[in-house]
């Protein structure tokens, strides 16, 4: 019996080692069990479903995309080891990555190995492929959506318009709230500078943990500071706790969340505490009826045949991320050398105001340039209207930010 088991294990080991020669191999990192699992799961689901859908529809000009979703639990060493494993087993064409930790850690490795890295980390400095303004160039990093900083700038523009509309007198007060952590800190300085430019008075930042907890103390300092607009830079879990605490304390500030700071599930969980909150969205919501949603619903059926599951907008962004990569691969097939990392990178620059075929109205038109990886600088601001069990999200503002050269990588 034991021999039989060993033999079968050996056979499977051999079998798994050989992917089909024609396949395009990519890596897919996700956090299904770690600190950011709540938002990574829907995003990774979008990526995986989209890739499976692409394969079912003939792949990239006939070649299938071979991928495996690997859960790295948001631990950088695990992501590093997985990366080495992938690169030593086969030549990777691209990677669909995830968060701040793995993306930052792999910036120089993917540049050296020429593997485009499509991340869900939107830190501003990743948009600087030639290292013009930031300390380190990120030539092979791509992401779909506005950077954290641009997202915050978009909210600042909305806030300025809102202040005017409300007939607010004098200088409105703006405060940054978030953990002292690379991800919430990413847009802090740059966005504060823009808020100042827009005539806001910048208050001292208030710190609240990325881990959900009781934040009444922070809400009291928010109340005392007299802030009019509070930017929440954490992920949805801790933001929900904050909204609840602040509802109890009774603050008057208008809350604005970043792209990972609020979603459909978060609104349901926070209930009326989130009423009126605005946040950044960079794809459609499930309830939207734009033409591209037909394709999205079809893709979603791959993992939810009933079609009943309502996907959060992170899912749509995952789909966009996978489809930009797929179309770049399509272009790369026509280049000498075929679908290689370097060709995919070059292909990413071929189109401008680019929306993947079939996803019109879902993905924002994006343009990547060899010296500027800010795919889109368009920021959609959504506002929540919650009454009891009834949750509504409406688009209230679309900011079209200028591509200022000094903003590149910041």
């Amino acid at each position: 019996m034991r021999k039989l088991l060993l033999a079968s294990a050996a056979v499977t080991l051999v079998c798994t080692g050989t992917a089909q020669a024609a396949d395009i191999v990519i890596g897919h990192l996700a956090d299904l069990t770690g600190a950011t699992a709540s938002v990574s799961k829907p995003f990774a689901g979008g990526v995986a479903d989209a890739l499976n859908y692409i394969n079912a529809k003939g792949g990239v000009k006939g070649d299938k995309i071979a991928f495996e979703t690997v859960d790295y639990s948001y631990q950088v060493p695990r992501a590093m080891a997985q990366y080495k494993k992938w690169t030593s087993e086969s030549k990777l064409a691209a990677i669909q990555g995830w968060g701040t930790g793995d993306t930052e850690a792999l910036v120089s490795s993917v540049a050296k190995d020429e593997i485009p890295y499509f991340s869900a980390s939107y830190s501003g400095h990743l948009t600087d492929p030639q290292g013009k303004t930031s300390a380190k160039a990120a030539p092979y990093n791509f992401f779909y959506g506005p950077s954290y900083t641009d997202g915050c700038r978009g909210l600042v523009e909305w806030a300025a318009a809102d202040w005017k509309k409300k007939g607010g007198k004098g200088q409105a007060k703006f405060v940054h709230m978030g953990d002292n952590h690379p991800y919430p800190n990413a847009p802090k300085d740059a966005c504060g500078a823009y808020a100042k430019e827009k005539g806001f008075e910048i208050l001292n930042p208030i710190q609240y943990s990325l881990k959900p907890g009781d934040f009444k103390a922070q809400c009291l300092s928010l109340k005392e500071s007299g802030a009019d607009y509070a930017y929440l830079a954490n992920t949805s879990g801790s933001t929900i706790s904050l909204l609840k605490s602040c509802e109890t304390v009774g603050t008057k500030a208008q809350f604005m969340g970043n792209i990972w700071g609020m979603d459909e599930a978060g609104l349901k969980a926070s209930g009326e505490a989130a009423n009126g909150m605005t946040w950044v969205v960079a794809a459609t919501t499930w309830a939207d009826t734009t033409p591209g949603m037909t394709l999205v619903r079809e893709i979603s059926k791959l993992s939810d045949p009933s079609g009943k599951e309502e996907r959060p907008s992170h899912y749509m962004r995952g789909i966009c991320s996978a489809f930009y990569m797929k179309e770049a691969m399509d272009i790369a097939t026509t280049m000498p050398g075929g679908v290689t990392g370097a060709n995919i990178k070059a292909a990413m620059y071929k189109k401008s105001n680019w929306v993947p075929a079939g996803l019109e109205g879902v993905c924002l038109p994006s343009t990547w340039k060899a010296d500027d990886h800010r795919g889109t600088t368009q920021v959609m601001v959504y506002q929540a209207a919650i009454k009891g069990e009834d949750v509504k999200m409406t688009k209230v503002y679309a900011a079209e930010l200028p591509r200022r050269p000094e903003w590149l990588g910041w």
Partner: protein, 357 residues
């Protein structure tokens, strides 16, 4: 004449020097040398993935050995080891980026800086014991974590610090093969120092403090001095491990050095064997390999069932995480003395084979 590979039955050591040799028998020494030689040849037949795992075992092992000196030998406790590990990583990058100190020098210098920090944070150990000390070191973990995210001049704050690859005589050791030799060098040096430390007066003082602090004090051992010294030493190891980690990744982010990592270090030495130099390496190997082996198992399970089904992905992810925890619990129940104990049992079994009793 009896072959030198066998130990004669009974105690025949006639001097203290013989009693405290690093290796019990010449054969063991030969084995140790042979395995180092084997590792030197390893890059020629291992791929980058295997090398990167060996490198991880290397820098984690150095840091874990530091913790073992503190916990296993001196009987103190630290929940802040990851903080020191991170400090070493940032310090080395900082020395290199801000002052142009060559990386080869910056790494040991960073370790020295970490030592100073460790001596500072070790001061409470002079007064506190047990759980109280654990909480004091817990605080150091949080102080350091916050410092990394705040000190822009030192760590680059939230955007992190770039760490240059090792450059030796104008030759850049950036790939896995090059870096593997750097790590191997330090592993050999640090583990030799670790083994030798315990043959010195100071090493024996550590053990005396652990076994019975009152007796130790009566014998004239300055408790405060040795407790703090132990913190400093363990920080030196942590700092060096961290520096290697930083330069290997090429980038140091404040995100990585959490309390979880500190606990992982504790797990390594408990699984490997408290108070054992070789056990430290075994425990580290176990902890680094376990998730990789599980990942491999999950891949095989997926290919057996076929396809990339999302519920399966998630289900297997949980099974993987749970089995890591389960393996650790089983270890603690069935092998509380650590892997090194199992190793010794196995060795004595084979030494007497087939006449063991």
């Amino acid at each position: 004449m009896i072959s030198s590979s066998l130990i004669p039955c009974g105690q025949f050591k006639t001097s203290y020097a013989k009693d405290t040799t690093i290796f019990d028998t010449p054969v063991m020494r030969a084995w140790a040398v042979a395995s180092v030689l084997f590792l030197i040849a390893a890059p020629s037949f291992l791929n980058n993935y295997h090398l990167s795992i060996l490198i991880q075992i290397g820098f984690m092992g150095i840091a874990a050995l530091g913790l073992n000196i503190l916990v296993g030998y001196t009987g103190q406790i630290s929940l802040g080891h990851a903080g020191f590990f991170g400090f070493g990583a940032f310090a080395s990058a900082w020395l290199n980026n801000s002052f142009g100190v060559p990386v080869v020098l910056a790494m040991p210098l960073a370790a020295v800086m970490t030592t100073v920090l460790g001596l500072l944070f070790g001061i409470p150990a002079g007064r506190l014991k047990g759980l109280y000390l654990a909480i004091a070191t817990f605080a150091s973990q949080f102080i350091l974590e916050d410092f990394f995210a705040r000190a822009d001049w030192f760590s680059g704050g939230s955007s992190g610090a770039a760490a240059a690859p090792v450059n030796l005589f104008g030759y850049e050791l950036s790939g896995d093969t090059g870096f593997f030799y750097v790590v191997l060098f330090w592993v050999v040096v640090m583990f030799l120092i670790g083994s030798n430390l315990l043959r010195t007066r100071d090493g024996r003082a550590f053990i005396a403090v652990r076994d019975h602090y009152l007796s130790a004090e009566v014998m004239g051992i300055n408790l405060t001095k040795y407790r703090i010294l132990s913190f400093g030493l363990s920080s030196f190891y942590a700092g060096l491990g961290g520096a290697l980690y930083g330069h290997y990744l090429g980038f140091v982010s404040a995100e990585g050095f959490t309390i979880l990592m500190s606990i992982e270090f504790l797990g390594m030495i408990i699984i490997g064997g408290l108070g054992s130099v070789a056990g430290t390496l075994m425990g580290t190997t176990f902890m680094v390999l376990l998730p990789e082996v599980m990942e491999g198992g999950v891949s095989i399970a997926k290919s057996l069932i076929g396809g990339d089904v999302s519920w399966l992905n998630e289900g297997l992810a949980y099974i993987k995480q749970a089995s890591i925890g389960l393996a650790i619990i089983l270890f603690l129940i069935f092998e509380p003395d650590g892997l090194i104990h199992r190793w010794r049992l196995g060795r004595s079994y084979w030494k007497l084979y087939p006449f063991s009793y």
